[in-house]
Symmetry: C2
Subunit: 292 residues, 2 copies
């Protein structure tokens, strides 16, 4: 495995491309706006004008794009991945998308002779930059093992979750956990503020104990500073929660806290906050209390 | 400060008594059932047959009992703490109880010449045993400083939160955070199980990233093993969440996730699970999915 096609050279993708090149792979990239990827081209990535050109002759193709519709486009549209990649190529979608879409890529891809994996990640831009992503992989186990050198170049906590779509299911579970945790953090800080406590002291007091969490560590201080710059966009989290809730409903599950968190976020998006970071959930509580 | 009265020698209290003796204080204890505290009596604590006898002549009195009604009894009933402690004694309630009750003890106690602090803790039986509790203190700052040697004997993360009741308010914030986090953990594991994932792999995959939390670390493995033994009793958590919700409502806050978590727990308590640990919240999801 040597030549890697990479589609989706955004914030996350760019760091992953760099880590793959550092590990010795030959990177072929495609992007709509070449200007935005000039830096990695200078560092050695080979730019192509179309997805079809990019993936031809590659041993593996990695995609990490935005929404399910973007995934559909790069895989299924005429001339794109399924039409253009060589038979036997490993196709790895690292976008967070629906498990059903992952199964669809697997089926169509397998029918055309590809090895297909879904491999969404957690760890954000920091994890991508430092090569310490968690990678959640679904598909066939032998394909997972064959692609291990790629995964090891970009992540540290790499796990096979099961058949096609299982990587996405594990990512859904991850997002469900975050929805509850961040809601708890925001409700607690809203309470503490309303009761006149000093919020820095509260953070210091509770973060070391049973209430401690990565969400509190990352976003507690940002919320206190009113810093809503996106580490992770609210609009993308809403996409993920919707996918999770759809899947939960398909299994007859009633996940009330997830539903509540999604409703709170959708309300914020409807008034224009979708481009803020997930920590701006605090605004739901401020505004419902008439304090904003 | 030398002679300490201690009311509430339960699982937490016993460890705190030991740590206070280890730090050189003279401990005077009261308990309804002497047989249950024979071990700490042998280790040097002085047993008294009544609360009044126990607190007479002490420099400070610490209480850590069960419910608000127990707190009312030990402070306000005839012959108990407020009737029997010497003027100038430091009265420290470390029970998790309502901020309003903390204010009431402060007012009545201050009127009779006592120094009153509310100082609930987090860190559970392990924190109590190891002397690493977080202690959340409300009252007058000079009283807080005067009692620091007591706090340092039992905890490591000790913080002054503000006026009377502020310690309790911070504890409420802590419990609100836990309610959201543990709900997220249970919903995520319910989802993962329904989708056929291997739950140990899921824990390993998500616990190191943005979904990570102390609740997940402590209770994830227990939930997988079906171990519902109480680290923290569900019935006590329900008490705390009710107090928090009452206080939130008084401030006009709408904390939807807290309300939902409380409703889920009350449903479990109503069918007899109140004596299980908080992690048995997972049963709400199992049973609503007809899987139990």
């Amino acid at each position: 495995m040597n030549k890697i096609g990479f589609i989706g050279v955004g914030i996350m993708g760019k760091s992953m491309v760099r880590n793959l090149m550092k590990a010795g792979f030959e990177l072929h990239i495609y992007a709509r706006a070449k200007a935005k990827v000039e830096d990695v081209i200078e560092e050695g990535a080979v730019f192509h004008e179309s997805i079809g050109d990019c993936v031809k002759g590659c041993d593996a193709v990695i995609t990490i794009v935005g929404y399910p519709a973007d995934v559909e486009e790069v895989y299924f549209e005429e001339g794109n991945i399924l039409d253009s990649a060589d038979e036997g190529t490993y196709l790895i979608d690292m976008t967070t998308t629906s498990p059903m879409l992952a199964e669809k890529i697997y089926e169509k891809g397998t029918n055309r002779g590809f090895h297909v994996l879904d491999a969404p990640v957690t760890g954000g831009d920091t994890g991508a930059r430092e090569g310490t992503l968690s990678i959640l992989v679904g598909g066939r186990q032998e394909d997972y093992e064959a692609c291990m050198p790629l995964f090891e170049a970009t992540g540290t906590n790499i796990n096979f979750q099961g058949g096609p779509g299982s990587g996405q299911h594990c990512k859904m579970a991850n997002q469900i956990m975050i929805a509850g945790t961040l809601s708890g953090v925001c409700e607690a800080l809203t309470y503490a503020k309303a009761k006149g406590l000093d919020l820095s002291t509260v953070l210091q007091s509770v973060s070391t104990g049973a209430a401690g969490s990565r969400q509190l560590d990352i976003f507690g201080p940002k919320i206190l500073e009113g810093d809503y710059a996106p580490g992770f966009f609210m609009k993308h989290f809403i996409k993920d929660m919707k996918l999770a809730l759809t899947e939960a409903n398909l299994s007859g599950l009633s996940l009330e806290v997830l539903s509540q968190a999604l409703a709170n976020y959708e309300e914020l998006e409807s008034v224009g906050y979708g481009d803020l970071g997930t920590q701006a959930l605090i605004k739901h509580y401020e505004e419902s209390c008439g304090e904003e």
